[in-house]
Symmetry: D2
Subunit: 332 residues, 4 copies
C-alpha cells in the first residue's frame, strides 16, 4: 500500500501516522519528494482501512498494491477451483448450463421444464422459489412449497438444483439444494454472507447492480473467510445510463475475474439483457469470453398469453441456443 | 398504465392479453394506430408486473401512469408526515440534525461526542454499532456493546439515538433505539424491510448506491405495507463514474421525494461526499433544497493521528457548520 | 408517439395541444381514462421534439413508438448495408480486421506494423495522425505528416487506411483515406457530422463515452441525412463506475444495433478494455456477438522500454489473436 | 507521480524505464518493497502520459500527485479569477444571473424576455442561436439571424449576452457577444477549444455529460494554454442511471471546483433537472453551495399551448425564484 501525504503535513503528523502503521504490524518506507512525502507500507495491509486513510487531512492519495482479498485471490491459489454441485462440476475446464423458469409456478410447469431443458443439454435446473421483487405487491414466489417442487423435479430428472436464498432464517429449506444463489440485491448483505460461509453448500454469488469487480470478490471473501470456499461468481449485468437493455452485460468481467481469482464464473444473459432476442448472441459471447457456466431462463408453456412472449426462451428456442453454445465451446 | 403493442400482434394475441388484464380486475381501452395498437389500462394496476409485460413479444413499450407505490404516495396522503423519534419531530416543517461518530469506539468517546454535538445544537446522536464493511477483515463495530454505549450517551444527554441494523435477528438489541437506520446496501434486503414493517419504531431508510428514487419509495412501501408508516427517507449519494467525491450527492432527490411522497427526507453529506471540506457547503445546499434533517459525522478526539484528519468534522468545526445551517434554515 | 396528459389538464389546454399537433401534420387519437387522457399521434412524428413535449406542464409522459431515425432504421431498409472501404467490404457477412498502432510515430514504425499485421491476416491498417488528448500537454499526433506516412504504408502493402478526423477543416488531408473515423468525443459534434455527410467517404462512427445506442444511431442519421450513407458504427466501451477496465465494453450493443439498423458494426476491444490481456477473450466475444469487424491496436517495437508493455499487442501476440478470431468466425 | 511496478519486473526493465523518465527531465526515487518496487517521480510530470504508463506490462498502478492542469490550478494562482462579461463581473464574490429562453425564436420574444428578466434582477441575457440537437430533424436554431436578434435585445436593455458556439468557423458571428458558451457535447472538441483559446472573449465551458471534474479542468486548460484565461466553468448535470430528472445535478462539483481552481463556477438548474418545479429549490441549493452565477431558462409567452408548460419558467415565476436566490445570497 502506498500513501502519498500532502506537503502541508508536519513532521509530527507524519511521525504519528508512521507510528500508528507500525502498531498495526506494517513496515513503513518513507521517501521525500519535492511536493509530497510517500509512505510505502510493507507487510500484511489487508486490515488497513483504505477509506479511513483517504479521509485523513494529511493524506493526498492511497493506493493498494496488494489486493485486500486473500482466499479468493489467484496469487495465493493459482490453480482453478472446481465446484461440485450435486455431481455437476463447474470450473477448471468443466462447463455447465443451468436452465429453467424465472419462478416455480406449479409441479407440472417445473417438471416439464426440467425434462425439456435436460433433453436440450442443460446440466442443472434453475427456478425461483423465494423471489426478490421491487414491489411488495408483486408475486413473491411459492417459497418453501417452491423448494419442494424443485426437489420433485430433481427426483424426476436427476438434474441438480440452483435457487435463490433471501434470508439466513430460510437456510433450513435449502438442505437438499445443490447450489444456493445469492441475488444481486443481497451481494452486500453481509450477515447473510457470513451465515452462508458457515454452511457447507456451494454458493452462486451474483454481482450487485452497481458493484465493482473487486467488491464482488470481497463479498466472496466474506463467505470464504467463514470457511466455505465453494463459490461460483456470477456476472448478470450492471446498472448504467443505457436503457435499451435491462442492464449492461459486462462481459469483460469474465476474463478479469479469471485473472484475479481462481473461482469459476457463470454468466446470466437473461437478466443481463432482459430481451429474448439477445440471449443467443450474448450466450455465445459469454462462452467465447471464457464463462465456466451459463444461467438461462427457459419457460415451457407457450400456450398461455403471458408466457407466450416472456423474456424466457421457449424450450424449442433453447435447443437452438444450446447448439450455438456447444459450437463456441468446441473451439475454446 | 399504457401498453403499446407491436403491429405484428395478431387479433388473437391482443384478445388473449386483454382477457388476462380483465381477469386481473383492470379495464382496457383499445385504440388502433397506423403503426401500433395502444391499450389503456384503467383501475388498480399496482399489481400488474411491468417487467413481465415489457418482456412479452407483442409488446413494444409499457408506461406506468399512476405510480406503483400507494402508502408512500403524496397523491393519496397530501399532508406531510411528521415522524417522532424519541421526542424529536422530523418533517412538516420540523428540522433536526443527527450528529456523531461513524463508529462507537468507547464509552468516553461516545459520551463526549454526544455532549459536544448537543452543545453545538444537534438534536439527535448518531453512531454505528453494527457496521457494514466491504471487507470481512475490517472493523465490524462493537455490536450489542455499542448499542449499550449509545444508550448510556442518551442517558447522559437526553439525545435520542439513531443507529444501523443489519439483520432482523438483531432487532432484540434495538428496543430502546429511537430511530433504526437501514443502510444503503440493505435498501433492497426485502426480508429485513418486512421485519421492520412489523416493529413499531421509526425507520431511517437510506437510498441504495444505485437505487432510483422510485426504487427507494418502493422499499419504503415494503415497510409501510406491513403496517409501519414512520419512515424517513435518506439521500446519501449515488454511485457514478466521478471519483473525486466518494459518491455523487443527488440533491435534486430531496425536492423530488417531497413532490412524490409525504415522508420526511434527511440528507447525509458525510457519506455522500467523503470529504470533510465539502460538509459545510453541501449541508447548506441540502437545507436550501428542502431537507428535513441532516446526518453529519462528528468525531471528538483530535489528539490521535487517525481521528485528526478523518472525514468526520471535529466538534469545533461542527459548531461553525451548525451556524451556517441555521442561517440557511432561517430564510427557508 | 403516445402522450399521456395529467388529469389536471383542462379541455382548453388539451384542445390547444391537439390543434398544434394537427398543424404539424400529425393525426391525433384521444382516449380518456380515469386518471389521465392519452393522445395517440399517428403519422410522421420524427419532427416532433419529445423533450419539449415532456416539459409541458400538462404532460405526464411521452413515449415514442416509431423510432426517430429513418435512414439508419432497419424497418425501412431491411437488408444489411455493405460498406466498401478501399476494396475491403464490411457488413452483410463480410468481416474485416483493422489493426495498427495507436499513433503513427515514424515511417519505419507504420510500414513495419502494416506488413506485420497484414501477414497475420489484418485487412485494413489503423493509425492515429490527429490525436484527441485529454491534456493539451500530451502528444497531439503527427497530423498531416502522419496522414502521409499512413499513405506510404498503404502504398507498401495495399492495406486500406482508417484514421481519425477531429475538425472539418482537416478534410483536405483525408482525400486518399479509405475510412474516416469520428472519435467518441466528437460523436455529437454535429457540425463535423454534417460536413462528413457531404463528403463521399465511408465513415466509422464511434459511440460516445456515455451515448445511448439510440443517440449513436441519431448521430449516424446526421451524416446520412446529408447524403452519405456509408456508415460503420463502432462499440468502443462506455463510461461506468467500474474502474478496473478503462471502459465497460457493452457487447450487447452489437446485436441491438443489428436489430435496429442495417449498418455494419465494428468492435474495438483495445479502447474498450485498456488492458492487453483482455484483447483476446473480448475479440472472440465480440465476434461471437456478431461484430462485422474488429479494430485492434498493434505496435511493432518491443525493444523500447515504453512500447514494451503497451496496451497494444505485439505483432506476435496479434498472430495468436487472429487465429482465435478466425476460429470463432468459422462457427458463426 | 508515483509508479508502482509489479514484482515480475526485471532489473533491466526497471532500469530502462527509469532511464526514460530521466530523459524526460524527471528525477526518480526508487524504493523496493516486499511485493513491488515504487518509483517516485519528482519534477514537472505534466507531460508524462499517465494512460501510456498504466498500460505498461511491468506497471501495477500509476498515481498522479500533482495535478496535470497548471493554468487552471488554484495552487499556482490562489486568488479567485474575476471574469468581466461586457461589464458584468463574475467570480471573487461577484454574483450574476443569466436568464432567457432556450432558443431565440423572434425579435419580439427575445426583447420581451430580456426586459422581463432584467426587471426581475437578471444581469445577463441567455438565448440559443446555434442549437445542438440530438436529431438532425429537430429545429437547429435561427443561427446568425438569432445572434442579430440577441444583439438587438442587448441594445434595447443593456444586458450582456451569452450564447453557444458549435464550430470555430462561426466565430465571425460572435464578435459582439459578451460570453461564448461551449456546450456539454463539445467539452472535448479540442479543435474548437484551441480556436477559442486564441480569441479574447470570455468563455463559459459546460461540463460534458459524463466528464469528470478533472476532465472539465483539463478542457479549460486547453483554452488557457492558448492564451485565453477568461473561463467560467459550468455544472449542468451529469448522466447517471436515474431517469426521473433529465440529468443528475452534481452540486458537490461547485465547492470541489473552487478548491481545485481559481475559475468562477456557474450552475445551470434548468438543464440539470429538466423540470420546472425543481428550478427554485435547486437554484437556492446551488447558491448555498457557492455558485458564482446561475443560468436559468425563462420564456415569456404563456399564451401559446406549447410555451405554456415548458421547462422554462415564466417571467412571473422567475421573479419569485430571484427573491429566493437573493435571500440565500444574503447569508453567504
Amino acid at each position: 500500500m502506498i500513501a502519498v501525504l500532502k506537503n502541508t503535513a508536519t513532521k509530527e503528523q507524519i511521525g504519528s501516522l508512521v507510528g500508528w502503521f507500525e502498531s498495526q504490524g506494517v513496515k513503513v518506507h518513507e521517501s521525500q519528494g519535492d511536493f509530497c512525502t510517500v509512505l510505502g507500507l510493507i507487510g500484511d495491509t489487508t486490515k488497513i482501512d483504505i477509506e479511513m486513510l483517504q479521509s485523513l487531512d494529511i493524506v493526498e492519495q492511497v493506493t493498494r498494491v496488494s489486493e485486500p482479498f486473500k482466499k479468493a485471490n489467484r496469487k495465493f491459489h493459482p490453480e482453478d477451483t472446481v465446484v461440485d454441485c450435486g455431481g455437476v462440476k463447474i470450473g477448471g475446464g468443466n462447463f455447465a448450463v443451468m436452465a429453467g423458469p424465472c419462478s416455480v409456478e406449479s409441479r407440472e410447469q417445473i417438471i416439464e421444464t426440467a425434462k425439456r431443458v435436460q433433453d436440450a443439454g442443460a446440466t442443472m435446473l434453475r427456478g425461483g422459489a423465494f423471489k426478490p421483487r421491487t414491489s411488495p405487491y408483486d408475486f413473491q414466489g411459492l417459497k418453501e412449497k417452491g423448494i419442494e417442487l424443485l426437489l420433485e423435479a430433481k427426483a424426476a430428472t436427476g438434474l441438480p438444483i440452483v435457487t435463490e436464498i433471501m434470508d439466513s432464517d430460510h437456510l433450513q429449506y435449502f438442505k437438499d439444494i445443490d447450489l444456493i444463489q445469492v441475488g444481486a440485491r443481497n451481494m452486500q448483505n453481509f450477515e447473510l454472507l457470513k451465515a452462508l460461509g458457515k454452511c457447507n453448500k456451494p454458493i452462486l454469488l451474483k454481482r450487485g447492480l452497481s458493484a465493482t469487480i473487486k467488491e464482488l470478490l470481497m463479498s466472496a471473501e466474506y463467505i470464504m473467510s467463514e470457511g466455505n470456499e465453494n463459490i461460483i461468481l456470477c456476472e448478470r449485468g450492471i446498472r448504467t445510463y443505457e436503457t435499451y437493455t435491462r442492464n449492461t452485460f459486462d462481459l469483460s468481467a469474465i476474463p478479469v475475474l479469471h485473472e484475479l481469482s481462481h473461482l469459476p464464473v457463470v454468466a446470466d444473459p437473461s437478466h443481463a439483457t432482459g430481451k429474448r432476442s439477445l440471449i443467443e448472441p450474448m450466450s455465445m459471447a459469454a462462452v467465447a469470453a471464457g464463462a465456466d457456466a451459463l444461467e438461462i431462463e427457459v419457460h415451457p408453456n407457450p400456450s398461455k398469453a403471458l408466457s407466450d412472449g416472456a423474456q424466457s426462451l421457449t424450450p424449442d428456442m433453447f435447443v437452438d441456443v444450446m447448439k450455438k453454445i456447444n459450437a463456441v465451446r468446441s473451439i475454446i
